[in-house]
Subunit: 238 residues, 2 copies
């Protein structure tokens, strides 16, 4: 196993790793659909919002079809499409408010306490494709005690582009090997490792709901595998 004594900072993927986006957003979508008397499945609406709007939108940015934009903008673009598809007309303020559901995501039960514990020994920072405003609002909503809020927005490119990880290490004043990426997503960790970062895999099997089971067989290269943030803290001696 790699020597982890040099690790000074932990950078966290956020959507899915720290917060439960699906149940949080589904609840707001369900209330919105009911208000507009639309009989549609809020979970499936949310899944498409996430998969086609956010993940799909980032792919369009990566291949140059769309210019770089924030997660908020990608979410709004897809939300407008979904509303049109469902024949829903709503005023801009109400749509903007629903779009901000992504700022109000409930943490997994272990996240606030686990981060507080890790923070006693390490710098704990976000490293998310979410934009800074979204991450700041989410931290206030969910009492996430970040030392620093870093985002792909600061580089104008989304993870897994290497500059996202490299820029985070630089801003934190660390060599890449002094930073550990923490994520529930293996591709994110593998890309971080490519830049020299350490890796901690924290699977969140319920992240994407019943229709999209997570890949829980960890790549053998990860430095740490933990069941939650307390387990991660224990393995890191906190």
């Amino acid at each position: 196993m790699t020597d982890l004594n040099s690790v000074k900072a932990l950078t966290f993927d956020v959507f899915g790793t720290v917060v439960d986006w699906r149940s949080s957003v589904s609840a707001e979508v369900a209330a919105f659909l009911q208000r507009h008397n639309v009989d549609a499945d809020a979970g499936m609406f949310t899944d498409r919002w996430r998969r086609e709007g956010y993940a799909g939108g980032m792919r369009l940015v990566r291949d140059g079809t769309l210019p770089f934009q924030t997660a908020d903008q990608l979410h709004r673009r897809m939300l407008d499409m979904l509303l049109e598809e469902h024949g829903i007309t709503a005023d801009d303020a109400e749509v903007a408010e629903l779009n901000r559901a992504w700022h109000r995501l409930h943490p997994w039960i272990d996240s606030p306490g686990g981060l507080q514990r890790l923070k006693s020994r390490f710098v704990v920072s976000t490293l998310s494709n979410g934009n800074v405003e979204l991450l700041v609002n989410m931290a206030k909503f969910g009492s996430l005690p970040w030392d620093c809020v870093l985002s792909a927005e600061l580089t104008g490119a989304f993870k897994p582009e290497p500059q996202c990880y490299q820029n985070a290490a630089k801003l934190l004043g660390c060599e890449s090997r002094e930073v550990m990426m923490v994520a529930a997503h293996q591709a994110d960790l593998l890309a971080a490792a490519q830049t020299g970062m350490r890796t901690a895999f924290v699977p969140r099997p319920r992240e994407a709901g019943p229709n999209f089971p997570a890949d829980l067989t960890p790549d053998p290269s990860f430095d740490i595998i933990a069941t939650d943030f307390h387990h991660l803290a224990a393995q890191l001696g906190c």
Copy 2:
């Protein structure tokens, strides 16, 4: 008086406004000088480090004499010059440790509690010429509960360049008029106001020590004048 109900976020100057750099750094300088048997005034050493190294260094970056670099790098550049001038030879680890004295600055007595109070209603963020690493370490050292750590480093230009203020508002998802700059330095506030930000002047008369009395007569344009962060919180309804 300007309507302040639209303010959503407060951005803080840090050195001098939130923390007492002079007494913190002087104490580390005094110990260093004593260790090296050098009879020199630690306060004056610190004043020159700050005035010629940091403020002077930023001027050299602004006029293009030096490339953009972090506050840590500007501090180290001046520290090396001061050590040579005083005939002090020290190994790199010891000099690097002294340079990090700027990461270990004690907050003014009202800063942690006042920020916590302001945080209940507003996003509270740094907006400092200090680099991100320095600000993150300082926050951990002094228990400063920032929601976000923003720095001139993110724009590659130092305050009072307008892009520093504009970029902060953008990252926080705010119009400039929704952001209030908080500083003990009038030039910082006047530059923020030029970009449309609101302003709060919190004079810190002891900041620069006995040799450099602060300019305490506030410009009449400031939206708020407060004696400390609790007084600021009270005026903002926290």
